[in-house]
Symmetry: C2
Subunit: 424 residues, 2 copies
């Protein structure tokens, strides 16, 4: 079977001129990839008819699927649907389903249906209406068939990220799967921390070489973490899942201590699950990470079940008065030291009455280093009943990287201690 190709096109001056960040196309190509559909180009064009007509023609020559976002909705004068009409030599008609939906949308909100709103139910006569339950601009699905073979698919969606995602997940991806009869594809992501890509590759080299041809491995590194993505292609979903799981079971013993979770479980989610399942609680004492570890924990819904609180002890007076660090320790060893970070962790644990407490103290930069403690020097600690472990890490002079990376390394120390690993 030949591969299916897609092009993703964003329409709108705001993205073109850099006024807003495009997060849509990354998400879209990732989702297409999961169906085995290859994105061969992404483009961004302005709100002008001739620019849109030009990209439609180009894209049709290259791809099987053309996904458009943006240029819908009254403030944009609905440029995308008017242009699609012209491109397909079609006319705009009121779609009854769309009209019913828009009418109900405004009724529910107790607002009258204006003529502008009514026009949102106008769509090209030959397209399929895709109901957008998250907004008022509809999705539109066009099949352009010439001759006998499979045609080209054009889809138009609003540019608002959650509306686009709703339509993709509920309407577009299922239709694409069916239309192109794409093979069954199954992904499993193994998430690791604390080991670099090349060392990881060495450890699993033999296993990787022994993978069957229909299961591929990809390394996706970021910020002290590496995601291993296994992609299986087959015909039967259940069998494929089993085959991929067998490979996961084989590789796991080789890298067990570095694996913190699977698929979309970020470190803070995985840690939360681990704390919940062990019935343990955690607190945090942060100096150089400045509240970022607390933020990571608390951005997870339901984190109040295990995250009790944190102290951002930026000033030494707060380390002393709130966390109970001894003034003479700071005097003698400095705030960035094994002794201080240990007392911070133990102090936080006692203060907030938790099973575990994480602490950080370092020189975040870009300035403030000394020959002994250069910028990027970080002490982390984790305290539990009867045991506190402290480690020193040398990072860079990039403040934002140090805050991010330092937080992740400190959380990884908690992970290890939850696993009973007190050595590595």
């Amino acid at each position: 079977m030949r591969p299916i190709f897609a092009e993703v096109v964003t329409i709108g001056d705001e993205i073109l001129y850099g006024q807003i960040t495009d997060t849509n196309t990354q998400w879209m190509s990732t989702e297409l990839d999961k169906l085995g559909i290859k994105t061969i180009r992404k483009s961004s064009v302005g709100d002008q008819e001739e620019k849109i007509l030009q990209i439609l023609e180009e894209a049709e020559n290259r791809a099987d699927i053309i996904l458009l976002t943006g240029g819908l909705g009254p403030t944009k004068d609905d440029i995308t649907k008017k242009t699609l009409c012209k491109y397909f030599n079609d006319e705009l008609v009121i779609n009854e389903d769309a009209l019913l939906f828009v009418t109900e949308f405004f009724n529910k909100r107790g607002r009258p249906l204006t003529e502008i709103n009514r026009q949102q139910a106008l769509i090209p006569s030959r397209c399929t209406y895709l109901a957008n339950k998250t907004g008022t601009a509809p999705g539109m699905w066009f099949e352009k068939v010439e001759g006998g073979a499979k045609g080209k698919i054009f889809v138009s969606m609003p540019g608002v990220p959650h509306e686009m995602k709703y339509l993709m997940a509920n309407e577009v991806l299922p239709r694409l799967k069916k239309y192109f009869d794409t093979p069954v594809i199954y992904h499993k992501m193994i998430r690791t921390i604390g080991i670099g890509e090349s060392l990881l590759a060495e450890k699993i080299e033999k296993w990787e070489d022994s993978l069957p041809p229909h299961i591929k491995l990809a390394y996706l590194p970021s910020f002290g973490q590496v995601r291993l993505r296994l992609t299986g292609v087959g015909e039967n979903e259940e069998i494929l899942k089993q085959e991929v799981q067998q490979e996961v079971d084989k590789v796991l013993p080789m890298i067990k201590s570095f694996v913190f979770g699977y698929d979309n479980d970020d470190l803070e989610i995985a840690l939360g699950n681990q704390l919940k399942s062990q019935g343990k609680t955690v607190s945090v004492a942060e100096s150089c990470t400045g509240g970022f570890i607390s933020h990571l924990f608390t951005k997870v819904p339901g984190s109040s079940a295990y995250f009790m609180g944190g102290v951002v002890s930026y000033a030494n007076s707060v380390k002393i008065n709130v966390l109970g660090v001894k003034p003479e320790t700071i005097e003698a060893r400095g705030a960035v030291s094994e002794e201080t970070v240990t007392q911070m962790a133990e102090g936080a644990r006692a203060l907030m009455k938790t099973d575990f407490a994480i602490a950080t103290s370092g020189v975040a930069g870009p300035d403030g280093g000394t020959p002994e403690k250069p910028v990027g020097t970080l002490w982390i600690a984790c305290a539990m009943e009867g045991k506190t472990i402290a480690r020193k890490i040398q990072m860079s002079n990039q403040r934002d990287t140090n805050i991010n990376y330092g937080s992740v390394v400190a959380m990884n120390l908690l992970r290890k201690m939850l696993n009973g690993d007190y050595e590595s």
Copy 2:
């Protein structure tokens, strides 16, 4: 003068397939816009020669400037420079400046110059070498002149964001400015908070209508903030600056209480400057924002001068034991209440001995609301000597938005109190 058009092209499978986020093109088009150069298309193509040749030809037909990033460096097999060579019917030669630079780069790091590294000094013979002081892959500048008119400019840069930015700022943008003799453009951004775009537009309508034709206004809204960007076009930079400043001076009295800063001063930077200039300190007590306010303050270099620390009082026990909130207050009024948030702010201020203290307590969601306190209910407070102000805000059921927006609103309350505004 006719406008100058640019196309921005990213080369590489990682961006195309959604494995990494493209932050380069937004930055690039914003910088081009500042020179008055309009980005007319952005494209992303894979690592294959024929795909790159295709986009080069297309882009050359549309634009005056073609900026390429990615596909340089040994692991990519330097596909971009090889393809550019083919496109321009040129050959790769060792560039002496590039060789000297790469040799020194590795010398300094005490590493030997391998053959692969040496090849990084190979560039097409007819291009101008752009020294990249932040990495080993060079920038390359091509002028394609046919006939007598101004030619087309092609620039190739590495895809690593800080390397691309270095080359753009130091080599590419100055050359483009000179080559195309672009007019003098001067931007001034007025940053506002606490007022919506349409209300703001109403307040300054008359002023906006009276702007001279060579000074344009743009509204750039985001998360409770609106940036007003004034762009002046002229011939003399000093005169232009004065003219724009006169307009700023005129509009300021109409919106003074909403303006927190200018240009790139984010709220946390502006607040930091205000605290420093008044010689005041601040601390934070956070419940639903979970450490994010502390993070915003501490991500600013030098924030230890005014930010003393924070308490993330997620559990009620931490509100009581660390911040001194009365158990009977939580019992009677709940954790999300005016009384609790007031005691949190006053408790933090006393505990960390600061001039000001900000506090937040709310239902971040997505669950956990009640009919009286639905998801998105947020109480914020700010305490100073002899005065504490508390406000209630109703947000949405999006946890991440609530954390972000709630933090910004709470910080804005501090800003107002620093300005002596205790009413609005």
